[in-house]
Symmetry: C2
Subunit: 391 residues, 2 copies
């Protein structure tokens, strides 16, 4: 089996992770649990995963030489975010290093216009979109997509950063400026009204084997994931359709590892794919407590060429609530003493040194026999914790 | 609340752990998960918890100055083992540092003769025992305890190390030599035939509040914990009796944190207390996956003065099987690729650099609707992993 990796720690494998935030931290926890170790590549000090790493390399992850320096020290390299330049990643692969997901996958996903073109070509329904190179193109696009539309950055957008809604031609000038259209590639999408946002985490192995987690409902607040409810309360047909679409999407971009697929359920009953995140994803954090093998452990298994674990839920329902910064301040979760007293609330604090408004600082998961029961516990605990509040 | 600790990491507390083995590692994992960090005090390089620690102090943990060096850098100090000299720990406390469990608790527990005297005085049934200062004392003890007897070291015994069975006076000479009776304090216990070994993990808070995990059955192989089955299949009366005894024992030694209580169930139906381990314990490893809040997370909560979590099981049954070294060799778990394919087997590899015969290298936990179902999965996976075998 040529996907097998020779272990280079005493009891397992050494995994290089590009990016050291909470996703790297939550990936490191199960990796360490079964004998592996990690090395982090980060841009600066104080990353949440720092204390779990064997070593922290500091450098610019868009430079091939930095990536190769990481590759030289580990069995396999993986990514915490999809913003690492695909060309630099290709050089890492060309230097003989294992990288999952591959440079090809990242190349197909990190530019949202290319992502949509790729998925659309594979027959997956997506929100109608058009490339735009000028303000005039946007106005012309409205003839096809109709107002309102959403102007988006092709790269590096997350949590609503890099999006601007256009209700009429009058909004173009401001949106163009906001997204720095003179220096950044943009595209437009039709505005897509939906009844629910759905998401599916899929883990795909190097050999193409796929496992999938339950379809979940996600609720955004100010474009940031706020609540995730598992499993989604939709018909069996829609449920199966969402899973089939998620699997096809991951196969289409040849993804390896845990990959998040976000979708919109429209009033018509149609499901359209919104976005692929080629990495562990906020909509799958609940799997840490809720599933036999979490999205994080399965990601580690996948990139190491090991068998994938079961995605089965231990209880009928799980709800995750994000803990977001209220305002600028320290990273301390005021009220955690009270929140820990809420029975069945699993509290995750990422360990960031500073809070900002809307910054993801932690999350809470609770399990239950029903969504309502789980959500009640998770919300009760979440309401007790404040980031950026006076201590 | 004067038990409250001022946080000294950006998002939580800094915990000092004396000892850096697998117990420290499994304690660190949930500690980090909710924003805390750890500093380890170890005697040498290569401890399993090393890569999870903020810092590793190297030194002799029986020296007060070393303990105080640790105390100066953390919010609270806790222990991975009960062998740290209680007098040195008292100096740590006298220097103004928080220590849980306290020097008093360790002093009452680390000398097994004092432990038995203390528990016995509190009305807890223990295996009959006698102090011995000479070989003649042993022979005299047989008049009261009858042959066979077990000669034991008062301190630093674990996993059968420091024990010798005496079937008659002819065995005294060899046993005395084996346990180095001329230089080490010993005592004798009556031989205690039992039908089951039981254990209960208890977590006690600084304010005296107690939570307890299920009563479990443990099976030893060559004096080393081999299998743990939760919950124990005993009558409701015995079950309650075991829990009451465990709670009383922990109160008697004024323990704080997670504490393991090992017991024998005799054919007569009597339960006698075998031993207290004033720390997280092998009989509680199954709680990581099986319970809402594990023995490790509850230990962290207890020593930080935070509310304790629920000990409820997520599934009706759980079984843990230890992975022991077969012979001297590397720390690599040969066969882990196959074991990971066993659905529902949670594999823990401690990350030790070397294997020895009988050394605890990892463990596997599986959940199920019955003990049989859980044990089947755990054993199936455990049989596939070998430490010290040819690779």
């Amino acid at each position: 089996m040529n996907n097998k990796i020779k272990h280079c720690t005493p009891s397992g494998h050494l995994i290089g992770i590009v990016g050291g935030g909470q996703l790297a931290k939550m990936t490191a926890l199960p990796a360490l649990e079964f004998g592996n170790e990690i090395i982090i590549l980060e841009k600066g000090e104080g990353a949440p995963s720092q204390t779990l790493a064997n070593k922290v390399l500091m450098g610019d992850w868009d430079k091939a030489s930095t990536l190769i320096e990481l590759g030289n020290q580990v069995d396999v390299v993986t990514l915490e975010n999809e913003f690492v330049d695909a060309n630099a990643l290709r050089e890492l692969e060309n230097a003989g290093h294992k990288l999952y997901p591959s440079a090809k996958t990242i190349g197909l996903v990190q530019d949202k216009l290319i992502q949509k073109q790729t998925l659309s070509a594979a027959g997956i329904p997506v929100v109608p979109f058009l490339a735009v190179n000028s303000k005039n193109d946007i106005e012309a696009a409205a003839n096809e997509l109709d107002w309102p539309m959403v102007l988006k950055a092709r790269r590096n957008g997350y949590d609503g950063n890099g999006n601007a809604t256009l209700t009429s031609a009058n909004d173009i000038e401001d949106a163009w400026k906001k997204l720095d259209g003179d220096n950044r590639e943009l595209y437009v999408e039709a505005f897509c009204p939906y009844t629910k946002e759905l998401a599916v985490m899929v883990t795909r192995a190097i050999d193409g084997k796929i496992v999938h987690y339950p379809v979940v409902e996600s609720v955004q607040k100010d474009h940031i994931c706020h609540i995730v409810r598992a499993p989604a309360r939709i018909t069996d047909d829609l449920y199966q359709h969402a899973i089939d679409m998620a699997k096809l999407a991951v196969q289409t971009v040849d993804g390896v590892g845990s990959i998040g697929i976000e979708m919109f359920l429209k009033e018509s009953g149609e499901i359209v794919l919104n976005e692929i995140a080629p990495r562990v994803h906020n909509s799958g954090h609940y799997t840490i407590e809720a599933c036999t093998c979490s999205q994080f452990e399965n990601h580690v298994r996948a990139v190491l060429g090991l068998p994938l674990g079961s995605c089965e839920m231990k209880k009928p329902a799980a709800v995750m609530v994000n803990l977001l910064g209220e305002q600028a301040g320290t990273g301390y979760p005021v009220g955690i003493d009270q929140a820990l007293a809420v029975e069945g609330a699993h509290i995750h604090i990422y360990g960031k040194t500073e809070t900002r408004t809307g910054r993801k600082m932690g999350h809470i998961t609770a399990l239950g026999n029903t969504i309502e029961e789980a959500e009640d516990k998770a919300q009760k605990a979440a309401k007790l914790i404040r980031f950026g509040a006076e201590q």
